[in-house]
C-alpha cells in the first residue's frame, strides 16, 4: 500500500530543501539585527560611516533574503505536495502557526525590506530606522512561529484525536504556543542565527583588514560583531534546547541516542565524551565518560535519572500494545458511533494510537500484529545512534569554540588591538563556515533524531506521505537538486563579487540622497 521508496525520496527532498533553506535563513536573522543596530548608531551619532555599513551589509542580506524566500515557499508547499496525509492529519493544529507566521511576521519583513532598500531618499532618518527595525522584528517573529510549529512536531501538546474526522484537533492553543520545547527551540535557533550574522561580519571584515581595505567600516563592524557574537554564542549554549529534551518520551529517546546511552544510568548520568556505538550489538565498543555532566545538562539536577535506549524500547512495546487496543476501539467506534464501550476504551487509550501505526510498516491490519512485529516496531523508535552521537558532538564542539573565539575578539576589540592581530584575523576568516556546519548538524539532530516520527508519538513519518509515484519523485527531486545547485553556485559567485567590490564609496551616497555628504563626523578612510 505504502511505497517506501517514495517515502524515502520524499524525506530526502524535504531534508534537502530544509537544509538548503537554512543556509540562508540564519544569516538573514542575524544580519537584520546587526543592520538595525548599525543604523541606530548612525541615527544617534549622525556618523555617515555607520550608514555605509548598514547599506553594505544590507546588500549581503538582500541576496540571502531572496534565496530564503524562494526556498521558503517550497518548504511551505511541500507539506501539501509530498505529505498530504500529514496535512490532513495535523493541519488543524500545525497549519495555524504557519498561517500566523505569514500574517504577523513574514508580511512585516517582506513589505518593509523593499522600503529598506528603496526608501533611503524618501523617508526621514528616524522613519527609515523604524523600517529597518521592523524588518529585524519580522525576521525574528517569523522564526518564533515556525519554531512553535516545529516544537509541536516534537512535543504535540494541546490536541486530541477526533474519530469522526480521523485527525488531530486542537483543544488548547495556549499550550501549543507556550510549549517548553517550542520556546527553548526558538531561543536556541535565533541565537544561532545571531552568531551566524556576527561570524559573517567578522570574517568579511577580517578579510578587508588583512587586505588593508575599507578599514573604517571593517573596524567598526568587527567591534559590533564581536560583542553581539559573544552574547549570542553564550546564549546558544546556555539556553541550548537540550533543556527541552527531558519533557517527552521520544525526546528522551533522542537524548539517549545522542549520548549512545543504551542502558539507564544511575543519576547523575555521565556525559559520553567519545564512543564507538555498535548498533548491531546495541552497545558501545568503546567509550570515555565524563561523570555527572549529562545529568546536569539534561535534567539540571543531580538526582533525576536519564533513561537509556533499551529501557525506552521496552516502554515503546507497552505503548504499541496499548495502541493496538486504541486502534481496535477506533475501528469499532467508526463502525458504530453509538458504541459506548469502544468510546470509553478509545478515550483512555488514544494517546498511544500513533504507536500502533508504527506496525503499519509490517502489517496492514494492525490488530493482527504478532510479537515479532511489535518487537520490530519498538526498535524502529530508536533513531540512528552513530549519526546523532557524532552530529551532536561536532555541533557542541563548534558552539564552545565560537564562545572562545568571540570572547577573544571581544577582549582584543575592547583593547583596540583586534585589527592589528593578523593571526586572529586569519582565524576569523577561516572560521566563516563553522556556524553553518553547527546549525545544519543541529537540525539533523533535531529532525533525524525525531524519526521514526513526523509528529512524535502521534504520526509515523512513512504513514504521512502523499501517494505519489516514483516518477513524480524522480522528476521533482532531480529538478530541485539541479536548481538548488545552480543557484548555490550563482549565489556564491555574487556574494564574492559583492564582497570584493566592498562598500559603496561616498560619492554614491551623495547621489542617492541628493544631499551633500556629511564629512565632518567621519574620519578619513585610510585607503582612499
Amino acid at each position: 500500500m505504502i511505497d517506501f521508496t517514495v517515502v524515502d525520496l520524499s524525506r530526502l527532498q524535504f531534508a534537502a530543501t530544509a537544509m538548503y533553506h537554512f543556509l540562508f535563513v540564519p544569516l538573514t536573522i542575524g544580519l537584520s539585527f546587526l543592520m538595525a543596530i548599525m543604523e541606530s548608531v548612525y541615527v544617534m551619532t549622525g556618523r555617515e560611516v555607520w550608514r555605509r555599513m548598514t547599506l553594505f551589509w544590507g546588500i549581503c542580506f538582500g541576496i540571502n533574503f531572496a534565496m530564503g524566500v524562494a526556498t521558503g515557499i517550497v518548504m511551505e508547499f511541500q507539506f501539501g505536495t509530498n505529505w498530504a496525509y500529514y496535512s490532513h492529519y495535523v493541519g488543524d493544529v500545525f497549519g495555524a502557526p504557519l498561517a500566523i507566521e505569514g500574517l504577523m511576521a513574514f508580511f512585516l519583513e517582506a513589505t518593509f525590506i523593499g522600503l529598506f532598500f528603496f526608501g533611503w531618499d524618501r523617508l526621514s532618518k528616524v522613519s527609515h530606522l523604524a523600517v529597518t527595525w521592523l524588518v529585524a522584528i519580522g525576521a525574528n517573529f517569523s522564526a518564533l512561529w515556525i519554531l512553535i510549529a516545529n516544537g509541536w512536531m516534537q512535543n504535540p501538546v494541546g490536541s486530541i484525536f477526533n474519530p469522526q474526522t480521523m485527525r488531530m484537533e486542537v483543544v488548547d492553543f495556549v499550550a501549543v504556543l507556550f510549549s517548553p520545547v517550542a520556546q527553548a527551540k526558538f531561543v536556541h535557533t535565533v541565537s544561532a542565527g545571531y552568531v551566524t550574522g556576527a561570524m559573517f561580519i567578522m570574517s568579511i571584515s577580517a578579510y578587508y583588514m588583512l587586505r588593508g581595505r575599507h578599514l573604517d567600516i571593517a573596524r567598526r563592524s568587527m567591534a559590533v560583531a564581536a560583542s553581539f557574537g559573544l552574547a549570542s554564542a553564550l546564549s546558544v549554549v546556555v539556553l541550548g534546547d537540550e533543556s527541552g529534551y527531558v519533557t517527552t518520551e521520544h525526546q528522551k529517546m533522542k537524548l539517549a541516542a545522542m549520548e549512545a546511552m543504551w542502558h539507564t544510568e544511575p543519576a547523575p548520568a555521565g556525559f559520553m565524551a567519545f564512543a564507538i556505538p555498535n548498533v548491531e550489538k546495541r552497545e558501545n565498543s568503546f567509550q570515555i565518560e565524563i561523570p555527572y555532566a549529562l545529568g546536569l545538562i539534561a535534567t539540571r539536577s543531580l538526582t533525576q535519572e536519564v533513561p537509556g535506549i533499551l529501557p525506552l524500547v521496552d516502554h515503546a512495546k507497552t505503548r504499541i500494545r496499548n495502541g493496538i487496543t486504541a486502534y481496535e476501539s477506533l475501528q469499532a467506534l467508526r463502525a458504530n458511533p453509538q458504541d459506548e464501550t469502544a468510546r470509553k476504551t478509545f478515550n483512555t487509550t488514544w494517546p498511544d494510537l500513533g504507536y500502533s501505526l508504527l506496525l503499519k510498516r509490517y502489517r496492514d491490519d494492525v490488530a493482527k500484529a504478532t510479537d515479532a512485529d511489535i518487537e520490530k516496531a519498538a526498535f524502529d523508535t530508536v533513531p540512528n545512534v552513530p549519526v546523532l552521537f557524532w552530529s551532536f558532538r561536532v555541533m557542541v564542539g563548534i558552539g564552545f569554540y565560537l564562545i572562545a573565539f568571540f570572547a577573544l575578539c571581544f577582549w582584543l576589540a575592547s583593547r583596540h588591538t583586534l585589527g592589528n592581530n593578523r593571526m586572529v584575523l586569519w582565524i576569523a576568516l577561516l572560521s566563516l563556515p563553522l556556524p553553518w556546519v553547527a546549525i545544519e548538524l543541529g537540525w539533523l539532530v533535531a529532525e533525524y533524531g525525531r524519526q521514526p516520527w513526523v509528529i512524535e508519538g502521534v504520526l509515523p513519518t512513512f504513514y504521512a506521505a502523499s501517494g505519489l509515484t516514483l516518477v513524480d519523485l524522480a522528476i521533482s527531486l532531480g529538478v530541485f537538486l539541479a536548481i538548488y545547485t545552480v543557484l548555490a553556485i550563482i549565489e556564491l559567485i555574487l556574494m564574492i563579487r559583492v564582497i570584493k567590490k566592498g562598500p559603496a564609496d561616498r560619492s554614491v551616497l551623495e547621489d542617492m540622497t541628493g544631499a551633500p555628504y556629511a564629512s565632518a563626523a567621519a574620519p578619513a578612510d585610510a585607503n582612499r
Binding site: L55, I59, I63, A66, M67, V69, A70, I73, V74, F77, F79, G80, T81, A84, Y85, H88, G91, F94, G95, A96, L98, A99, I100, E101, G102, L103, M104, F106, F107, A110, T111, F112, G114, L115, F117, F118, G119, W120, D121, R122, N162, Q164, M166, R167, E169, V170, V171, F173, R334, S466, G467, D472, I475, V479, I483, L494, R497, V508, D511, M512
Partner: protein, 383 residues
Amino acid sequence: MIDLIPLSYEILRLIWWLLIGILLIGFTLTDGFDLGIGTLLPFVARTDAERRVLINVVGPVWEGNQVWLILGGGAVFAAWPPLYAVSFSSFYLAMLVILVALILRPVAFKFRGKIDDLRWRNVWDWALFIGGSVPSLILGVAVGNVLLGIPFGLDDTLRPRYAGNFFGLLTPFALLCGLLSLSMIVAHGAAVIGLRTQGAPSDRARRYGRIAALTAAVLFAFGGLWIAYGIAGYSVTSVQNPSGPSNPLLKTVAQSTGAWLAGYSARPWTMIAPALGFAGCALAWFGMTVNGWRIALVGTSLAIFGIISTAGLSLFPFLLPSSLQPNASLTVWDASSSPLTLWTMLLVTGVLLPIVVAYTAWVYRVMRGTVTTETIGRNPNAY
C-alpha cells in the same frame, strides 16, 4: 473552550470561505501586477534602461506582494486542511512547475542588476518572464481543473489518492481558464506600467494591455457558455449539515451539465460577480484607450475581483469536486478545520490583516510616483 465561540460552525466556515477568496484576490491584485509586468517585460521594454525602469516599478513591493501567496497557502493549510492535502498532492507536477517559476523570480530580481553584462541580464529577463507567465497560466489551469472535477479519491481513513497525471490537466477548458488568468494578469500589469512609467514602455503597455483586457472578456464569456452547456457541474444530493464534522465521506454528490450555474438562479444577486468581471474588462480597455491609467487600473482590479469571485461562487459549496469518487468531493461544510481553529484564526486575522493592509498602503504611498531612469540612477540599491 469551544463553548466560548460566539459564532456557529456554519458561519465560521462561510467566513473562512470568504477569507480565502479575499486572500486569493489580494494576491492577484498585488502580486498579479508583478507577474503581469514580468510577463510583459521582454515585449514592452526593449532596452536595458527600459527594462530596469519596469523592474524597479515592482522592485520595492514585490517581496511584500508575494507574501499574499504564502499566506494564502498557510491559510488554506490552517482553515481547510483536506483541501490543502488533496489539491497540492494531486497537482504535484503542476505545483513543481509553479514552484520552479517562483524560485526563479526572487532570484532574478536580486541577481539581475548585480552584474553589468547584457547577456547576463537577458538570461534573468527571461527568468522573470517565465516567473511571471507560468504561474499565471498554471494557476488558471488549476482553477479550470477544479471546475471540471479532479480524479481523486479518499479511503476510509481519509487518505487521498490521485488517479490522474500531469498532462491530463491540460484539457481545452482548463487551458482556456489558464489563458483567461494570464490575460487578466497581463492587463493588470499593463495598467500599472502605464501608471508608473513614461514614454515607449507605457505606449507599448497600452497596446498589449488593450488586447489583454479584450481577450480576458472574450475568454470569460466563452468560459461561461462552456460551463452552461458543455461541462457537468456537481451538486450535493443528500442533506448536508453545515455544522457537521469535517468528513467528506458523509454525503452524496451527482453530476449534471449546467449545475455550476444553479447557484445564480437560487441567489440572483450573485450575478453581480460576472457582471463586474465584464465591466472591469471594459473599463480597463476604455481607460487604456483614452490614456486614463487610473481608470484602467480600477478596471483591471474590478475584473480580477469579478472573475475570481465568479469561479468561487459557481463552485459553492464545493471547494474541490472529485470526478473519480464524487461523494468524496470537498465542500465548505465538510473540509474545514475544527471550530476552535477557525475561530482562533479568525481572531488573529481580524486583528492582523487590517494592520497588514494599512502598512502595505503606507509603503505604496511612500514609493508612489513615476519611475524613470533618473530616479533609478540615484539609488545604488535599485535593481
